[in-house]
Symmetry: D2
C-alpha cells in the first residue's frame, strides 16, 4: 500500500455518511487543488463502490466548461521543477514525483526535464502533465517527445486524461471499502532449477529500473522461497512503471551451495534478464528456467 499522504485512508461508508463539508475536505486533492470536483460529486451520494465514486468525479470534469478544465490543468505543477518544489507541492504531488525519483535526478536528467517543461509550456502555455506513477524517468522523456508535436486540442484532452489517471490512483489509495479501481499491475518471477526438476529456493534476485541518462535504481532485492517464487511480487499493488528493467539472479551461488559441479569460474554466475514494461496495469511474469549450463526466459502471465 502506497502512503499517498499523511492522511489515513477513509472508509467509503464514512464518506457516504459524513457531512458535505467533511466529504469535500477528504477528497479535495484527489484532483490537484480542485475541490469543486469533490463538491459536485458529493451531490450524488451515496456511492455503491469506489468505481461509482470515481465515475461521479470524472463526470464533473467531463461536463465542466472549457475554462474550468483549463484551470484544472493549470493547477498542476511542472514536473521536477526545483523552484516549485521549494515553494511547496501538495503532499500528493510530492509523493508521486518522489516515487519516480524526480527528487534525485542526475544533472543530465535534470536538464532534460527542464528542456521538456520549457519546450512544452512555451508551445501550449500550460504545464506538461503525465501520471508519473505509470512511468519511469526514461519513459516520461519519451512520452514528452511523442506528445510535443501534437496540436492544442489533442494535448488539452491528453492532459485531462492523465489528470484522471492521477486522480484514480489517488482515490484508490485514499478510500477503502468494497471494490478497487483497476489501476494496479504486477511484476513477478520464479526460478525453476531444471537440473533437479524442482523450484530453486534461496536464489538472490535484484530488480533494477534502468535509466539512460541518470542512475539506475534498485526497485526490489529479495530471495526465492521454497516454491522458487518471491513472497511478494517484485512490483505489486501499484502500476508497473513503463520502462526498461534488469532482473539479476545469483545462480552461481545457488548451484555452488547445492554442491552441483561447476566450471571455475562458473559458466553462469549472475544471470541478467533485460526487458521492458509497456502495460502498467498488466500482469507480467518473467520466469527463469536454469541449469549451470543453460537458461531460458519468456513473458508469462
Amino acid at each position: 500500500m502506497i502512503a499517498v499522504s499523511g492522511a489515513l485512508p477513509k472508509a467509503l461508508a464514512e464518506l457516504n455518511a459524513c457531512s458535505h463539508d467533511e466529504f469535500v475536505a477528504a477528497l479535495a486533492n484527489i484532483f490537484e487543488h480542485s475541490p469543486w470536483i469533490a463538491e459536485q460529486a458529493a451531490r450524488s451520494r451515496p456511492f455503491a463502490g469506489i468505481a461509482e465514486l470515481f465515475a461521479a468525479m470524472k463526470a464533473a470534469v467531463d461536463r465542466a466548461p472549457a475554462e474550468l478544465r483549463m484551470a484544472l490543468i493549470n493547477a498542476h505543477p511542472d514536473l521536477a521543477s526545483k523552484t516549485q518544489r521549494a515553494a511547496g507541492l501538495t503532499a500528493e504531488s510530492n509523493a508521486e514525483q518522489n516515487s519516480v525519483g524526480l527528487d534525485r535526478l542526475s544533472d543530465a536528467e535534470y536538464e532534460a526535464f527542464e528542456r521538456v517543461n520549457t519546450a512544452y509550456r512555451s508551445k501550449f502555455n500550460f504545464p506538461y502533465i503525465v501520471c508519473v506513477r505509470r512511468h519511469s524517468k526514461d519513459s516520461i522523456l519519451r512520452d514528452f517527445a511523442r506528445r510535443l508535436p501534437n496540436d492544442l486540442a489533442t494535448e488539452t484532452q491528453t492532459s485531462i486524461d492523465e489528470i484522471c489517471r492521477i486522480a484514480a490512483l489517488r482515490l484508490d489509495q485514499s478510500v477503502i471499502g468494497g471494490d478497487r479501481l483497476a489501476v494496479s499491475g504486477r511484476l513477478s518471477t520464479h526460478v525453476l532449477d531444471t537440473n533437479s526438476g524442482k523450484p530453486a529456493a534461496g536464489v538472490a534476485i535484484e530488480l533494477v529500473e534502468l535509466a539512460e541518462l541518470g542512475v539506475s535504481r534498485v526497485v526490489a532485492r529479495t530471495t526465492t522461497n521454497a516454491d522458487g517464487r518471491t513472497d511478494a511480487p517484485l512490483i505489486g499493488g501499484r502500476p508497473v512503471p513503463i520502462g526498461r528493467y534488469e532482473l539479476t539472479f545469483g545462480v552461481g551461488e545457488y548451484f555452488a551451495a547445492r554442491g552441483v559441479p561447476l566450471a571455475d569460474p562458473p559458466f553462469l554466475d549472475r544471470i541478467t534478464l533485460r526487458f521492458a514494461v509497456s502495460e502498467p496495469e498488466g500482469h507480467l511474469h518473467v520466469p527463469l528456467l536454469v541449469t549451470p549450463w543453460s537458461y531460458a526466459t519468456y513473458r508469462g502471465s
Copy 2:
C-alpha cells in the same frame, strides 16, 4: 593470425635447412631472453613438425640444471610494470602484455597488479609469471591469489609450466608448415529466430570482456550472416582468455526491421548473455534462440 612481433613467420622447412646460427637467431626469444634453449634444440634437426620442434625445446628446459631453470624464470619481466616497460621489453612480451590490456590499466587495476608483483616477488624472489594470452585481467588477479599461498617448489614448477605455455604460443605464431600446436580455442555464437523458424540474419552482436576493477573492453562487434552465424568466430586462432564476458544481441532492431508486431517499448530489445570462459583451448558455442517474447541460451559445442 596474431602478429607476435615484427618478424614474419618462418617456414619449418627453412628452419630445418638453415645454418645453426640462423636457427638460433630465429627462435632466440621463443623462450624469453634464453637462446640456449634454441641452441640445444638445433642439434635435433630436422623436425617433422612444429609439435616435434616444441618437444625438443621443452626437453631442453626439462633437463636443464636448477640454476639454469631459475635463470629462465628470472629472465621474465614483471607483469604490467611501468618501469620495466619504459626500460624496454622483448617485442614478444610487449605484444602479449598489450593483448590483455596491461598497457591500459585503470588506476585501481594498476595498484592491484603492483600489489601482486610485490607480494609475489618478496615471497618467492622471482617474478610472477603467467601466460597472459590465456587470461583476462581479472583472471590474472585471481590466478595470483590462488598461487601466492603455494610453496617454493610448487611455484617454481608452475612458473616453468607457464613459460612453456608462453613459448608454445610464440612458436605456433612464428613457425608455419605442417601441424599447429593445440594452443588455440574458439568462441562462437549463432542466432535462431524461432518466430520464423529460420536463422536470424543481420543481428548486431557485441562481445565485451568484463573487468571488475577497470574498464570492460569490446572484444568483437559484428553482425550475423544469412546463416545466423558470424563470418568469423567471435574469438578464434588464439586462446579464449579465461574471464567473464557479456554478449549483446540487438534483437529489437532485428524484429522491427522484419515488421514483427512488438510492444512499445519492445519487451526484448538488447539481450545480454553473461558467461565465463574457463578453458582457453576449448570450443565454446553460446547460441541465442529468440522470439520477441522469449529467449534461451546454452553452452554448446
Copy 3:
C-alpha cells in the same frame, strides 16, 4: 469427487453424534470386510477432524494381534480375478479395480495379472494387495516384481501399509466436514504461445495413460481456456496414478486458426510429451512453450 460406492458421503458431525451401531455400519468397509476396526474407533468419539478419525482406525490396526492383522489381509480379494469378480466384491473394491481398468484387461494383461497373483499367493499364502488408485496397470505389475523377492515379515507390513492407503482414500471420499486427508495429487498443464507472447487459448489437449501390454486409455480430453490453462486439472481430487503418460497438444490447428504462416505440412502439428508420474500425491505441472518451429517443456510445480 470419486463415487466410491452408492452411499452418500457422511458428515463428520453426524458420525460423531449417531449411535455406535450407526457409526460402525457407516464405516464398516473402510477396511475391507473388517467392521471390528470401526467398532474400536467408535469408542474414541468425538473426532475433531477426519485425520483424527483415520488415526484412530489406524491405531486399531496397529495394536491388533498378528492373527487379526493376517485376517485383515486375507479379507482382501485377488486383483483382477474373474472368479472373484463373478462371486462379488465389496462395492468399494469393485469401484477401485474398475478405476484402474482391471475390468477391461487385454488377454496379455489378464495373463500377466494371473501370474502375479498366483506367484505371490503361493509364496506368501495371502493375496497381493496394493492401493490400485495410486497406480496404472503397468506400475502394479512393476510393483509386484519389486515385492515378490521380499521376505514374509516385510510383505506382511507392506500389505498393512497398502491397506491403510486404501482405507485413507475410502475415508476421504466417504466423510465430509473439516479437513481432508493428504491423499490427492494434481496433474496440470498450460500452453504459452511464445510467438505472440500470450497464453495459447483453444488448444486441444488429450492425456493418455500408456499401457505396455494392453490398450492405452484416454484419461482427459479438453481445450485450453483464455489463460492457456485447462478449467480443471487434467487429474485432480484423487491420486495421480504412478505410470507413463502421453500428453498431446493440437498446435497445428491452433496456429492455423490464428493465421500464422506455416509450412505445408506444418513442421509441428500434434505435439506429444511423454513423461512418467512417480509421486501420486504430488503436484505435477507439465507446461508447453511453443512456436510453429520450436517447443519446450519442463517439470514445473
Copy 4:
C-alpha cells in the same frame, strides 16, 4: 549413395568420350523408356558438368512436340500397381517405388492407391506421376488429392515437371565427376545434455516415418557419438521425403548410465519429437536439449 539399378555409375568424362550409341545406351532410362531424349542430348557433347548434361536433356523434353511429351508421360507405370509390377518395371522405377515402400503396402494403403490411380487415369487418361523419392506414402496421397481437381493443361505440365525431377535424381546417381545436381537434402539431429553442459554421447536414436493408413517405417536407428551427433545424417545423399516423422531419444537410459539421480519411473525416458518435412531438398536440423526434467527442440539449420 542409392543404388538406382544394377549398373555402376558412369564417369562424365567417359560419357563425353564414348560412341553415340554407348552414350544413349547408358542414359536410355534416365527418362523412362524414352531413349530419344538421350539421343538428342548426345549431339551437345562434351558437357562441362552434370548440370549441363541435365539441362541438355531437359531442353530436349521442352522443345518436343505435344504428342511426344504425352508419349513420355504414358511411358510411366501406375504407382503401386500389382499388375504392372508383375509384368515388370524398369529397374529404376522398381527401385524408386520400393524406396517409398510401395511394395509393402497395407491393405488399406493398397486400396487408397488403387482409388488414386483409377480416379486420376479416368479424368486425365494418363497415369498419375510423382517423383516418389521426394515423398512418403502419406504425402503422395495428399499430393494426389491436391492435383486431381486441376485441369488437363496444368496436370500435363505438372507431370512433365515431376518426370524431370525423377530424371534429375536418376542422373545424379548414375553419373559421377564434377558437380552434383541440387537434388539431395539432409535431416540431422544432435543431443545436448544441459545438465552437464556437454554433448550427450551414447543416446539411442530412432527415426520413424509415420503412416496414417499403414505401418510406420523405421528409417534410421543409431547412437550419438562423442560430439552428441550421429556419424551420418539421419537422412542424407537423397531427398528427405515430404511426410511426418517421429524421432525418439532414449534419454532415460542415457542419464541412468551416467548415474544422474532420477525418479522411479524416470520423469523422461523415451522422448519423442514429431515433426513434418516439407522441403525435400532442404537441410533440416532437429536437435534435442535435455535434462532429466526438461527438454526443448527447434527447427535448426
